[in-house]
């Protein structure tokens, strides 16, 4: 696995030391660094169009490939949600068959959680930002990185293929609980579920290869002077999420493999004795609860695999756009690490109604409430960063602020649901749907939008259109509250989730009915606004306003490349040297309100850092 390409990066540019507005100063004592002991990283150089853009080994391109694939799949998830909402609000139209409804629910959930959010945060932003922010030329193992993307693409294709097999995709719900997932009567219980499981196994395999790169690059391939505690929080978030994935995804893998065998070979890992349609099936003794434990041992850390990169990115966005040092950097790092560790001890709070011992449930209720502590620390730190900051209401900042509000919202309902006694009556109602869409759907998506508006100039050299962006922001932000706030109320009055039509059931009050129609209309409008965003992406990439270098006046290394967008090898002839952390905003005595990480101490002689 060692790279042994003979040639090193060629010289691309020689103005590396020219950083923003700071004059380069002749080397003085304060700037002295010992000569580098480690040779430069070997780099793969592509020679044809195919190896540059398609089978690319450059992490930046791989990141963009990941992002395109994930967003494309996510669009399908969005369309599926439209169809589901139409069915729920207007069952009289007879738009969907019951089986199709469940299939769409399942695919919507799986696509959004795994194939959109996970792939976009880690595969997309991880690949784009880790090498750039760490100051390395590329990922540690570029070839493995390329394989990781192609594995992901195959996983997506297998997933989509399940729409075209006899019986269609699986309709078992995104949790895929056996025995129902593989028993006749559930949509797609043969080919559909098998393809879904294979797709997940491929995803995990591809993802493990990606994770290998994120971890090794972050730990071992940083540039000189870049200690772990000088890294932007974005990298900390993505790095810790990858560590979580390293422990969590194997559980999904094991569960998927065993269920595939149950389905294809007729083993009884998870399948109990079943009488199906009057006939006894050949299985006996298997434990469906075991699958639930495996699934949620993956499933809960998965929530944080998505949330931690979002936390990291949002910390950077808030700090940069309020021109202020992040409040409590160390505490932010500890909170990320702490949340990561705790996330492995809360999984069974998804299983309160599975018949587990109440004492077991109380243990998990306690751990769940404990995890709220580091999470709350993060929220306080974001707010304290904003306090007395020079807040710029740019688009990334708007999305970051919207994230904080939405995350607090979804987090508070999480405290409700984390308690066994409150969860049991609310379980399987729309309250749960509202909770996880707020905390795990809308909140991370808002960060993704913020991050795209923030780093779009880095990728294309152009700014996204401000007007379209503002429409996109306000409709998405207000619209998602119009969608999910009423669902909390519906949950309280007892409207169950997963019912494909409930218009004349006694559960449903008149207000509940009209709310359903209202939610659907809001969902259609919010969904359509995302198309405006996509148009903005395409339009601005071609004809957007040219971005100046480092348009947001940020400190971190990704903006300090000799050319923007960064070229092959990222940093030109010489890797940058890092003299400070990424949060030197508004340092007293400095000429500008920001000091990039590569600025040597001699260039900012008058500045003072306050003692802590």
């Amino acid at each position: 696995m060692h790279d042994d390409n003979e040639y090193k990066i060629e010289a691309k540019s020689d103005n590396v030391s020219d950083v923003g507005t700071f004059e380069s100063v002749t080397t003085s004592d304060v700037d002295y660094l010992p000569p580098k002991e480690i040779p430069d990283q070997d780099l793969y150089h592509s020679h044809s169009w195919w190896t540059t853009y398609v089978f690319s080994q450059d992490a930046k391109y791989i990141g963009i490939q990941y992002a395109f694939t994930a967003i494309g799949t996510g669009l399908l998830g969005l369309i599926l949600s439209w169809l589901m909402r139409m069915q729920i609000a207007f069952p009289g139209l007879g738009l969907l068959e019951p089986a199709a409804y469940y299939q769409f629910v399942t695919m919507h959930g799986m696509i959004m959680v795994v194939y959109l959010l996970t792939a976009l945060f880690l595969g997309g932003f991880g690949n784009l930002l880790i090498p750039l922010m760490c100051g390395s030329r590329d990922m540690a193992f570029p070839y493995v990185n390329m394989l990781s993307y192609w594995m992901f693409l195959i996983a997506v294709i297998v997933l989509l293929a399940s729409f075209f097999v006899p019986g269609g995709p699986t309709g078992a719900g995104w949790t895929l609980y056996p025995p129902q997932a593989i028993t006749a009567g559930t949509a797609g219980s043969n080919a559909g579920i098998t393809l879904m499981l294979i797709s997940l196994v491929l995803f995990v395999a591809g993802f493990t290869m990606g994770g290998l790169n994120y971890i090794v690059t972050t730990l071992q391939y940083r540039t000189q002077g870049m200690t772990l505690m000088r890294l932007p929080l974005t990298v900390w978030g993505i790095f810790t999420a990858t560590v979580l994935a390293m422990f969590a995804f194997p559980a999904l893998l094991v569960g998927c493999i065993m269920m595939t065998l149950d389905n294809v070979l007729g083993t009884s890992f998870f399948m109990p004795t079943i009488i199906s349609m009057g006939e006894k099936l050949g299985t006996e003794g298997g434990s469906p609860i075991l699958f639930q434990h495996l699934f949620w041992f993956f499933g809960h850390p998965e929530v944080y695999i998505v949330a931690l990169p979002a936390f990291g990115i949002v910390s950077d966005l808030i700090s940069i756009h309020s021109r202020k040092t992040i409040f409590g950097y160390r505490m932010m790092v500890w909170a990320i690490v702490g949340i990561g560790a705790l996330s492995f001890f809360v999984w069974a709070h998804h299983m309160y109604v599975s018949g587990m011992s109440p004492w077991f449930g109380y243990f998990f209720a306690t751990t769940t409430l404990i995890i709220a502590v580091p999470t709350a620390i993060k929220v306080y730190n974001w707010i304290l960063t904003l306090w007395k900051g020079n807040i710029q209401l740019t688009l990334p900042m708007l999305f970051a602020l919207a994230f904080v509000v939405t995350f607090v919202n979804g987090g508070l309902t999480g405290i409700f649901l984390g308690n066994v006694t409150v969860d049991v009556p609310l379980s399987d109602t729309y309250f749960v749907v509202a909770h996880f869409h707020m905390v795990m759907g809308i909140a991370p998506i808002l960060v993704i939008f913020g991050a795209i508006y923030h780093w779009f100039p880095l990728i294309t050299g152009r700014m996204l259109d401000e007007g379209m962006g503002r429409i996109h922001f306000w409709v998405t932000f207000i619209g998602s509250y119009l969608i999910y706030f009423p669902m909390h109320y519906q949950g309280f009055v007892g409207v169950p989730r997963r019912y494909f039509e409930i218009y004349d059931s006694p559960y449903m009050s008149v207000s509940g009915l009209s709310l359903n129609a209202f939610i659907t209309v809001a969902a259609l409008i919010v969904g359509a606004t995302q198309l405006l965003f996509l148009y903005n992406l395409i339009f601005s990439a071609r004809a957007g306003k040219k971005a100046e270098k480092n348009p947001w006046k940020a400190n971190s290394l990704e903006w300090l490349t000799p050319e923007m967008p960064p070229g092959h090898g990222n940093f030109g002839k010489e890797l940058p040297k890092v003299y400070r952390w990424a949060y030197d905003f508004g340092v007293p005595g400095a000429k500008e309100d920001y000091i990039p990480q590569t600025t040597p101490p001699s260039a900012v002689v008058g500045s003072k850092v306050e003692k802590s």
Binding site: L253, G286, K577
Partner: protein
């Protein structure tokens, strides 16, 4: 290489302080004093350990159910175990040869290693064949199912290792290697092989005693 602070200690640094900044400026950008490839192998071993541990946990949960019928272990499994032990032993010898930069010995060692690894895999397939011809199907009992699952996952891990073995061997034959890289890669492969031997001991022991 320089002695490194543990990652857990380094998160208590205050990067904004002058005294810390002076230390940090000299930092070489590595968190651990090992190569990236070695860290990569460790990462893979951690992921594999998690996979096998979860399989073992589910095994111990499932074996308590009344329908569990203990499966006999064919004598051939002992032969395969011996082959795997020899495999690790010869990889260790090859590693020593690589440390001494003795190319004839390295070549010989790698061939023996490959031969033994493939023999082990073929031996496992013969065990499967023996079991199937005696009507021990995966579907007939969970104990059988776990046996096939364990041997498959372990075998796939070995096949994965053989990909890297093949890369090293072909480079050696073509002569397109750099001796330091070659030594390091052989060392990493050897570590992985020893790891798979340990995994096999655990799995085989588990099936033997339950």
């Amino acid at each position: 290489m320089i002695e490194k602070k543990s990652i857990f200690k380094s998160i208590f640094e205050k990067p904004w302080e002058q005294s810390q900044a002076l230390k940090d400026n000299n930092h070489d950008g590595k968190a651990l004093s090992i190569t990236g490839s070695k860290l990569g192998v460790r990462y893979i071993m951690v992921v594999s350990t998690v996979i096998f541990s979860l399989l073992i946990v589910s095994y111990s949960d499932r074996m308590l159910v009344h329908d569990w019928k203990i499966m006999p272990e064919p004598w051939l499994l002992w032969v395969n175990t011996v082959i795997l032990v020899l495999n690790s032993y010869f990889f260790h010898k090859t590693k020593i040869a690589a440390d001494n930069i003795n190319y004839t010995k390295i070549k010989k060692g790698l061939f023996i290693v490959g031969f033994l690894a493939y023999s082990f895999l073929i031996g496992q397939l013969i065990v499967w064949y023996l079991l199937i011809s005696n009507d021990y199907y995966a579907a007939s009992n969970p104990a059988n199912a776990y046996f096939y699952l364990f041997t498959t996952v372990h075998g796939l891990h070995l096949l994965g290792g053989l990909i890297f073995w093949a890369r090293i061997t072909s480079k050696l034959l073509k002569g397109s290697y750099n001796s330091e890289n070659l030594r390091h890669n052989i060392e990493l492969c050897a570590i992985y092989w020893h790891f798979l031997l340990c995994v096999w001991f655990v799995l085989f022991g588990l099936m033997l005693f339950t």
